[in-house]
Symmetry: C2
Subunit: 412 residues, 2 copies
């Protein structure tokens, strides 16, 4: 057959995604499928059943990463891998991560049913714990596999109830024997929803990221002085929450101050004792800073840290900072970025060059293998929420681009 006209089966992809959305489905129309939960296990079991139905060779490594492999004409040549993650945010959406895994499955099904031979082996992957919302940090499965995160450290990570990553991995039956260690890869492709408003705004079906923004996470600990609210005059208070409020606005204002090419967010705050009639004595909050320009983040943090320190001193509060996580920006392989763009246009999908503002397993993969991503539009730009949505025809378009990227790379 002429490979050029090959298309994936959009109806089958939709049906597959809907079956997955039922596992951990929420009344609000989203998905709650935290890493290493019973829902994660259920989705993994179904995924493996589907892999076996098309005769792929299934491997689970010691991090719970699942690989499905299809032979190539040259078995020793590095494989082409595509995939993403099955886990979700708490009350997250039905497309984040899972589209990349089910899209790769649909690509493999299409290749299999058309009995297409490829020069190189093909693989699908589901990376464990991409979200990092149950076990911090994010992208742990791909992090260990690429050698960027220590395996024992990962096993020891605890959720909010004190349960350990390693034990939960074992409990759901996905602590495999095979070492989680990188091997030579010809190309890694990850299909994903944009999680932002740009593609929808410009009515383009395919986003072609040139790489992933750098991400820095900080924790800020504030210590003021708790006291009864009534008899304590406004003057002389050391209200940790008021200090935090000023700081939150400083964080919000930072991108503008630094020239705009950055986002900065306080997503999480804990206030103590958090009682209506007690002046807050302690606050902890998080800062998430992202930019393509690593130096801008470094300079921005220096600038912000100075502002926050001054502010804390003025309010008589003690302040302490902790750097929780830092990944530099991850540029993708130029040749593969061009390939995504050309294939999209060849298929008649208007495409748009961009930068990924979210972290993905592709961040770590890009450090050990030629990597690219394919984005499809998020309705209303919403993600990590139950109303997260993407049109079925956009899912289909993204999977078609993935299909031809995989085939081209597999026949090099």
């Amino acid at each position: 057959m002429d490979l050029k006209n090959l298309k994936i089966n959009g109806a089958r992809l939709k049906n597959t995604l809907e079956k997955m959305a039922a596992i951990g489905g929420t009344p609000g129309g989203g998905v709650h499928r935290l890493a290493l939960s019973d829902e994660d296990r259920q989705a993994r079991d179904l995924f493996i059943k589907w892999l076996r139905e098309i005769d792929l060779e299934v491997t689970v490594d010691e991090m719970g990463n699942i690989f499905g492999r299809r032979s190539g004409e040259n078995e020793k040549w590095p494989a082409v891998i595509s995939g993403s993650h099955i886990d979700s945010q708490p009350k997250g959406g039905r497309f984040d991560g899972i589209l990349g895994v089910m899209g790769a499955l649909e690509v493999m099904r299409t290749i299999q049913e058309n009995r297409i031979k490829t020069r190189r082996p093909l693989m699908i992957v589901n990376w464990t714990n991409e979200e990092g919302s149950r076990f911090s940090p994010a992208m742990v499965g791909s992090g260990v596999w690429t050698g960027k995160i220590d395996r024992e450290w990962a096993y020891a990570r605890e959720d909010i109830q004190g349960k350990k990553f390693g034990e939960e991995l074992k409990r759901i039956g996905y602590k495999g024997q095979k070492k989680a260690e990188k091997w030579p890869v010809q190309a890694y492709f990850e299909l994903h929803i944009e999680q932002g408003p740009i593609l929808e705004k410009i009515s383009h079906r395919i986003g072609v990221p040139k790489g992933i923004i750098g991400i820095s996470w900080y924790d800020v600990w504030l210590e003021g002085k708790a006291n009864q609210v009534g008899p304590t005059p406004m003057e002389g208070r050391n209200d940790a929450l008021c200090a935090a409020a000023e700081m939150i606005l400083k964080v919000e204002g930072l991108p503008g101050k630094m020239g705009g090419n950055m986002v900065a967010t306080v997503g999480e705050i804990h206030n103590y004792p958090n009682s209506r009639n007690i002046i807050p004595g302690q606050v902890r909050f998080t800062i998430d800073m992202r930019s393509w320009n690593d130096e801008l983040v470094t300079k921005g943090w220096e600038n912000l840290r100075q502002d926050l320190t001054t502010l804390a001193a003025r309010r008589g509060c003690q302040v302490r900072y902790e750097e929780v996580w830092k990944v530099k920006h991850a540029p993708f392989a130029e040749s593969l970025v061009v390939r995504v763009k050309e294939i999209a246009e060849g298929l008649g999908y208007p495409s748009h060059g961009m930068i990924s503002g979210a972290g993905h397993d592709a961040t770590y993969m890009s450090q050990v293998a030629p990597t690219a991503m394919i984005f499809v539009p998020s309705i209303g730009g919403r993600s990590h929420v139950e109303v997260e949505n993407t049109k079925w025809e956009d899912c289909e378009a993204g999977a078609n681009v993935l299909l031809h990227c995989v085939l081209q790379s597999a026949n090099e």
Copy 2:
């Protein structure tokens, strides 16, 4: 004997307070004795044992309020009551509330051991759930007794685990038979720590409040738009936590704006989904406003509400307000306020006229009976925290003032 020279036993008072501090004592030197907890029961049992040791007639009413009664020469004449509360804040201090109950006990012991006859009967009271931190609102035992709070509504109040006030009262064995209903009272005195910094600052031993400040509680609900932090540009965000941050600073600035005779505090905040990499979509926070001037609070709230509404609109957030609790300022009986002042000075203690910034059971009592309070200094002005502290000689001085106030009122 000459009543004028009568003094309470400071060493015995200290010993009694120390025994009580052991019940629910925390490693940080404070007390965790929430209303209707096992610790509350244990402290009540000990209190009743002590009441019986000095032959007082003990009654427990249907709200769990405990009364200890000593006969007077004219049994039908209205009694003089003194007391406060045994319950504490979560990880609260060793003096708040309990000083007023143990002070009243020490006064009664002194009168009893000196075989002093009084024209009127004398009573001690422990009011149930003054703090309101386990079961909101505060001052519930005295509120029902004075007819200001409905009994069935109080029984139905739930703690954070869904346990009901009425059931917990029964569980600890303190749901009595006697109706919780006011009867004629000659005078009500409550000895309490100041919970503020004023007396310590001016080195005066006795505070003489002319009444209690009015208190208004509000809840503010904010609805923005949750989203992935990375791919969502700063422009166009509807970050509920940033909106809350601006609002918290507006609340802090309100007393200055209104002329200063007021305090306003945000003590509690809940942020959703409270995840490091999600733009906050919902926030709930509390506002506590207090002033002697009820109209200033009303005007202040109108002013603030307008500011918050404008602010929410500017940030594209929805906002909703709820009035949770409102008590007007409670002026004490002038004649009793003068009595406290004169007795303090007669005993050689420098005294200071003031206003109570904290709510007390005396708020409700002042609405049905002649009422006054006696304050003693709080070290560093700290209260509702484990380091809350008051010098033993100040506790003793306060109990001496209470003794003579009780005796004078009992012989009118």
